[in-house]
């Protein structure tokens, strides 16, 4: 379970998160929607300890993410993250990309790491690209590689930060299909997304972020199909 309790975060004097409260249970999918600069990415970065917070608390399976005694490198093994930019490591083949972290972070034997990496790559449909260098692949394929690479660490939670936003429109579908598949596998996930239709389809809960606060939160049938707040209605009219 991920618990976010009254989290405040600012960059110098720019307040970006102003008291966020959220809970994501095992097996749930939460989508976060909202305008540019509303703090969606920042929240994900705070959850996996890339960014610090000024107030409040984030608990991942009861581990206090920002406590001084927490081993954050270890904590990140529980949290897979995929970014808007796919960030495939250009000096490694597809298979090596996915096997590296299991091998050096989890200290797996090489054969074991390769086996797990292969399995995840096949799962996302890259089974025939194992020995390719990622720079030769399409954006959609590289993004699926990034997903498989994160999954190969066998994380308990997946964080997705607008992972289709940088893709050519015709490649968005294959990546969303991969996410749907993970959803069917029962993987717990937080998706920051601009794909409203997708959010409505896969999420248990949708949160609408506006200027650092959660304006509206609830099941997609409410937040997306029947929003209560004017700001939410306004935002959805713009993006739908």
């Amino acid at each position: 379970m991920i618990q976010i309790k009254n989290v405040h975060k600012s960059f110098d004097d720019l307040a970006v998160l102003k008291g966020i409260n959220l809970t994501v249970n095992k097996g749930e999918a939460l989508s976060i929607i909202g305008g540019s600069g509303s703090g969606k990415s920042t929240l994900l970065y705070c959850i996996n300890a890339i960014e610090s917070i000024q107030q409040g608390q984030i608990l991942v399976d009861d581990i206090d993410v920002h406590a001084s005694h927490t081993n954050q490198d270890k904590l990140r093994q529980k949290l897979g993250m995929v970014f808007q930019q796919w960030n495939a490591f250009p000096h490694l083949t597809v298979l090596e990309n996915a096997a590296l972290a299991p091998r050096i972070v989890k200290k797996m034997r090489k054969e074991e790491a390769i086996e797990i990496a292969k399995k995840e790559l096949i799962h996302v449909g890259l089974g025939d690209k194992l020995d390719m260098y990622p720079t030769k692949m399409s954006g959609g394929q590289q993004q699926r590689l990034a997903i498989a690479r994160a999954l190969a660490m066998r994380p308990d939670y997946m964080l997705f930060d607008e992972i289709t936003s940088a893709l050519d429109p015709e490649l968005v579908g294959e990546v969303l299909d991969t996410l749907r598949m993970l959803r069917d596998d029962g993987i717990t996930m937080i998706c920051v997304t601009h794909e409203i239709a997708f959010a409505r389809e896969v999420s248990d809960t949708v949160a609408y972020f506006h200027q650092g606060v959660i304006e509206e939160i609830g099941p997609p049938e409410q937040v997306i199909s029947n929003p209560q707040k004017q700001t939410t209605q306004h935002f959805l009219r713009k993006v739908l």
Binding site: I50, R76, L79, F83, Q85, N87, A150, M153
Partner: protein, 218 residues
């Protein structure tokens, strides 16, 4: 023909020449190795640190790069002698040549490290790698991929510049041949031979560098 002080070049000189070649090779290797290691460290620090540290390091490197090597060699070996700790020519020459190599190589490496998009180490951290693993497995290999040709260029010039260490008395190839010249009075043959030696080392390496460069451009 009267009695001559000069004796012509002969096969007996082979050992002497080989020693000169060996000494050139060994001091070049030391300088390239040490210069590369220090250059990696300094280049990384410069790419990762703030403006103040950068300006400070930068000005030291500027001095090393701007003052002619021959002056640095003479100054250093005179200085350590004057303070009562004279160093053998090999040691003094290795130190200065290594620092000189480091000054150029650190710039090459810094450029390489700066070319790594920050999102790469970020993705690595998100996978659970610690700061060291991120450096070793991500920043180093990605940063160094593109700089090999420039690094090779510096290494080649270090081999050639090693001839200057002769001014502080190191018996490398050039000084060896100077001594042979004064004995044999056959400067043409000897200097052409020395030139060919440098060419034979440098040219294949620079061809190899161009080959790698072309391969990476694809």
């Amino acid at each position: 023909m009267g009695l001559s002080l000069f004796t012509p070049l002969s096969w007996n000189d082979a050992g002497f020449i080989l020693t000169g070649i060996w000494n050139t090779v060994i001091i070049s290797l030391v300088a390239i190795l040490v210069g590369t290691l220090l250059g990696l460290i300094v280049g990384f620090i410069r790419s990762a640190s703030n403006q103040l540290v950068n300006a400070l390091l930068g000005s030291i490197l500027d001095v090393l790069r701007s003052v002619p090597l021959i002056i640095q060699l003479i100054l250093f070996s005179t200085y350590v002698g004057a303070i009562g700790h004279p160093l053998p020519p090999f040691a003094a020459g290795s130190i200065i040549l290594s620092l000189y190599a480091m000054a150029f190589m650190s710039e090459v490496f810094r450029g390489g490290f700066n070319s790594v998009p920050p999102s790469m180490p970020l993705a690595a951290r998100a996978l659970g790698m610690n700061a060291w693993q991120t450096i070793i497995y991500i920043r180093l290999p990605i940063g160094l991929r593109t700089v090999f040709p420039s690094w090779l260029g510096v290494a080649l010039s270090v081999i050639k510049d090693s001839a200057l260490v002769s001014v502080i008395g190191y018996m490398e190839l050039l000084r060896t041949s100077e001594q042979l010249i004064s004995r044999t009075q056959q400067p043409l043959e000897i200097l052409i031979g020395v030139g060919i030696f440098y060419f034979l080392i440098s040219y294949p390496l620079s061809l190899y560098g161009k080959h790698i460069e072309r391969k990476m451009a694809l």
